[in-house]
């Protein structure tokens, strides 16, 4: 009866149980929008982002300059389009590196246990003790600022937190009977972490990833403010906010729109993560 009906349904997301609500869809749309902008942004920018196009600074929105001009008279729209590539790109790559590394190490530590777990945990705890901005400052100052260095530094800063989180979740799953059964069957660590543990910690790990993404955007902005992030004349959104901070009292669009851009991206990432399909979120 029901079984028959089940087997003849079309495999749409809704029928497979992967549909999610409107809040999540709006979040996903905004993320996709910024991702597209990051790719094609420089091509559709009306002016070169580094060029001073207007002798007046902090101008309001106008037909020529859709989002006004900044403190040097550069076109804000062009600069936001250019900044998307840095902010979205750097933050996404670093958050994926940090979470992938942290989660894999965390699961391995939980499954292997014993000395391996102890040494790795203490090492990463010690690393966690270094203030993140200071660490970024020292590395970038020592190695020099480039995009790969920024990405790796940010990933390194956020890896221990992700490790702790994933390890705590994995330790709980690791004590479940189905993992014991797999062990008794003779399965090795890679199978255990990939097939038995990972699917069951996926939901919380994704929520953690969303949160970490926001932190990385903020630290990246902090580094840019100190002059160690993205180098002028290029800038990420955080740097745009910083360099136009004087415009705040003038209500200039030059400071408003980069802030709106950061807010829209970080909020929509969290909206999407919090409203993932129940099948992914509530598996454990």
């Amino acid at each position: 009866m029901t079984d028959k009906a089940l087997s003849f349904r079309l495999p749409t997301p809704r029928n497979l149980g992967y549909s999610f609500n409107w809040v999540g869809r709006i979040g996903l749309l905004v993320i996709l929008f910024w991702a597209v902008v990051a790719i094609i942004g420089p091509e559709i920018a009306p002016y070169p982002p580094g060029e001073i196009v207007n002798w007046d600074y902090f101008t309001p929105m106008s037909h020529d300059y859709l989002l006004g001009t900044d403190y040097l008279g550069r076109d804000v729209l062009s600069r936001i389009l250019m900044g998307a590539r840095y902010t979205v790109g750097i933050a996404l790559v670093s958050v994926f590196l940090a979470c992938a590394g942290g989660v894999i190490l965390g699961m391995v530590a939980a499954v292997v246990g014993g000395w391996f777990d102890m040494i790795l945990s203490r090492l990463l705890d010690a690393f966690n003790g270094i203030p993140s901005l200071l660490f970024g400052l020292v590395t970038v100052a020592a190695v020099g600022s480039s995009i790969p260095v920024l990405v790796l530094t940010l990933a390194a800063i956020y890896l221990p937190g992700s490790y702790r989180f994933a390890r705590a979740l994995s330790v709980n799953v690791n004590t479940m009977d189905f993992v014991t059964v797999a062990r008794a069957r003779g399965e090795r660590t890679p199978y255990l972490i990939l097939r038995e543990i990972f699917p069951n910690i996926l939901g919380p790990v994704l929520a953690d990833l969303g949160l970490r993404f926001v932190f990385i955007v903020l630290v990246l902005s902090g580094l840019s403010f100190l002059g160690l992030g993205v180098q002028p004349p290029n800038a990420d959104w955080g740097a745009l906010v910083r360099e136009n901070i004087e415009g705040l009292s003038l209500g200039a669009p030059a400071i408003l729109f980069p802030s709106v851009a950061i807010a829209s991206l970080t909020i929509s990432v969290n909206m999407f993560i919090d409203n993932l399909p129940t099948k992914i979120r509530d598996r454990s």
Partner: protein, 553 residues
Amino acid sequence: MSTPLVSVRDLKIGATTDSGRHVEIIKGVSFDIAPGEIVALIGESGSGKTTIALSLMGHTRTGCRIEGGEIRLGANTVTAMSEGQRAEIRGTEVSYVPQSAAAAFNPSQRIMDQVIEITAIHKLMPRDAAEKKAVELFRALALPHADTIGSRYPHQVSGGQLQRLSAAMALIGDPKLVIFDEPTTALDVTTQIEVLRAFRSVMEKGGMAGVYVSHDLAVVAQIADRIIVLKGGEIQEEGATQQILDAPAHPYTRELLAAFEPVLHKPLEFDDADHQPPILEVRNLSAGYGPIRNGEPGAKILKDINFALERGRNLGVIGESGSGKSTLARAVAGILPPYRGEVLVDGFQQEASLAQRSKEQLRHAQIVFQLADTALNPAQSIETILGRPLTFYHGMKGKAREARVIELLDMVRLPANLRHRLPSELSGGQKQRINLARALAAEPQLILCDEITSALDTVVAAAIIDLLKELQRELRLSYMFISHDLSTVEAICDDVLVMYKGEVVERLPAAKMSTDATHPYSQLLVSSVPKLDTGWLSGLEQDPALLERFGNR
């Protein structure tokens, strides 16, 4: 009959599921309880027995709603009261004894403070009077050290004591109706007797009415005056205890009773069994937990275990919780490496730890766990779960693997299209069958069953036992069957090991457990199993010296 204390008329309780679907849990139930009468609600899980019992307090679990009908308790119509008014009668008119007393006590408060909390909430009496009354109740419930036990913390008393203390908590406000929600299900049989006796005597003395929720007919027979049999939220049969036991009218009641009939196991005869080594032999096995010093772990659980299991025979392992039954299964399977002794499967010695055993060695002995819920990965479909051992041990892929999965499902009497589902979409009995099928996928010779029927309803458990027997005939398996339920062991095993505190105290033929037991602990254990006879508990006489020595009170 005088006016009943409780009358329930056409009670309907429903809930809305996550997907927005409306389900009826209780479908129009009516019954009465006279003052001083104990009525048992009996049925399998999901039959609505706890839901009905809770509704007598005007309470429903989150998401459920009383949607129709009327509940009258004394002069109060519970269904028409506001939540505040209901709170007024809870503790004074009606009270509740939960299934797990350990979870019902706050671990960071002294027992006395928690027992007399009701008198403080309802301002019934001053603290001194309340404490005095609590001590009287402790005495009536036959608790040891009645004067001082109240000053202990919950972790400082045993499980059976805690259950009696939670009854004292319920009784302190002199309620007219006490609801017992499976209060002895989590206890060992020897402890259960004590608790049942205490409950019965205190209820008789106080003249209170009670509702006793249970799935165990034998327990209910000892304490209830009347039994209501429930299934699927409807009353199937209602009658005096003796009548239900002697002359059940409804087929479902008969099914429940039939599950109690001891089905004696007939050992299978295999022609060539004599000339082969035993399928499992354990010599001088010792195992434990904790950090290892001088080659011995900190907490030693198993001490010098010896036994052999012949091919095609079944060995039962019985004992109370904490006796080391499950640890024995884990040590044999290699999940917990023993620190001393040998395990031989099919005559070949097994390495102590899992990592050193070969795939082939691991394949021969498979373990099945008690809780099917946690033993199946909730993120994998049934096909993936059953397919993995096929790929892992036999290298099967694609179509061949799928065909074998369907074959396995058929072996455990499940339909083939179940393979696309997730474990959460199956019932408890189905999950346990999948669990068994996964073990069978390895084509083992020996299956270690760790309490595999304990979490299941009687009727479902009986079906699993039948399945095990059938599989044994077809596949020539041997089982090591761990259980605390003696009648289950009797139904499937040839021999029984009685364990106590990590040692095997006796080995007996299963069919002669009640007559042949010589060790005092085995005798105590065997005599403590409730019988389907209303006079069993009153007529039961156990040696107090034995209870003192072995009863885990």
